[in-house]
Amino acid sequence: MTPFLLLQALVLLGLIVTAVLIISFKDLLAAALAFAAFSLLLSLEFYLLQAPDVAIAEAGIGAGLTTAIFIIAIRGTQRHEEKN
């Protein structure tokens, strides 16, 4: 297996792990940060597939702005998910 394929497999595995983390965290701030990590790994995957334009857009919008909007929304409400 070439190092490139190994790197791509690692990034895809990380995508699945972070996606599971997003829905399993009860702390909403931690979930938002896991979403930022997911977006960063996704932009790395776009870069590996030789689409640098999409990678920059994903890193800017997904990892930066969406996380900021989530954090602002959490600041206005409450941080922990309620048990039911």
């Binding site: 640098p52 857009a57 930066g64 900021a68 602002i72 206005g76």
Partner: protein, 156 residues
């Protein structure tokens, strides 16, 4: 939720670098990967960093809502004016009439891989700058509106 001093100092340090990198991506849109939308998003990320780290009242001195609204409208106007300028040159709407023999951005390039020159590509740099300004203004205005809505609810 108040951010710590470490977060605030880091955001203050990062803010100008984010703006400069976004400006670089916008201006070099016709040479390197990226363009108006991506560069504007990077610049808006810089302002979002500042907005997350600080309270609304601390930020309004550096990022003004009115200026950002003007930025947004001006960006779309630049784009439309650049598009309509093709009509005055006797070419169709949005035609790249500056590219071969205009007054600005007219240097012609060789086919194939080359070093690149900022003074090329005719209308494309103008359109890039217009979209970049519009995206910066639009996304920042959305963030500012949301942040101001939160402040009102806390006061009640």
């Amino acid at each position: 939720m108040k951010m710590t001093k470490i977060v605030r100092t880091t955001a203050d340090l990062f803010f100008p670098f984010c703006l400069v990198f976004g400006l670089y991506v916008v201006v070099h849109g016709h040479l390197t990967p990226g363009g108006g939308f991506q560069g504007g998003a990077v610049m808006a990320t810089g302002t979002a960093l500042l907005l997350v780290a600080r309270a609304y009242d601390d930020v309004t001195g550096r990022i003004r809502k009115g200026a950002m609204k003007v930025c947004e409208a001006a960006g779309l106007l630049i784009f439309l004016c650049a598009g309509f300028s093709g009509l005055f040159a006797g070419r169709p709407f949005m035609a790249n009439w500056l590219a071969p023999d205009g007054a600005l951005f007219r240097t012609s390039i060789a086919h194939g891989p080359n070093a690149g020159d900022l003074n090329t590509a005719g209308l494309l740099p103008l359109l890039n700058v217009g979209v970049g300004i519009e995206v910066l203004g639009g996304l920042t205005v959305i963030l500012l509106y949301m942040l101001s809505g939160i402040k009102e609810e806390k006061k009640k």
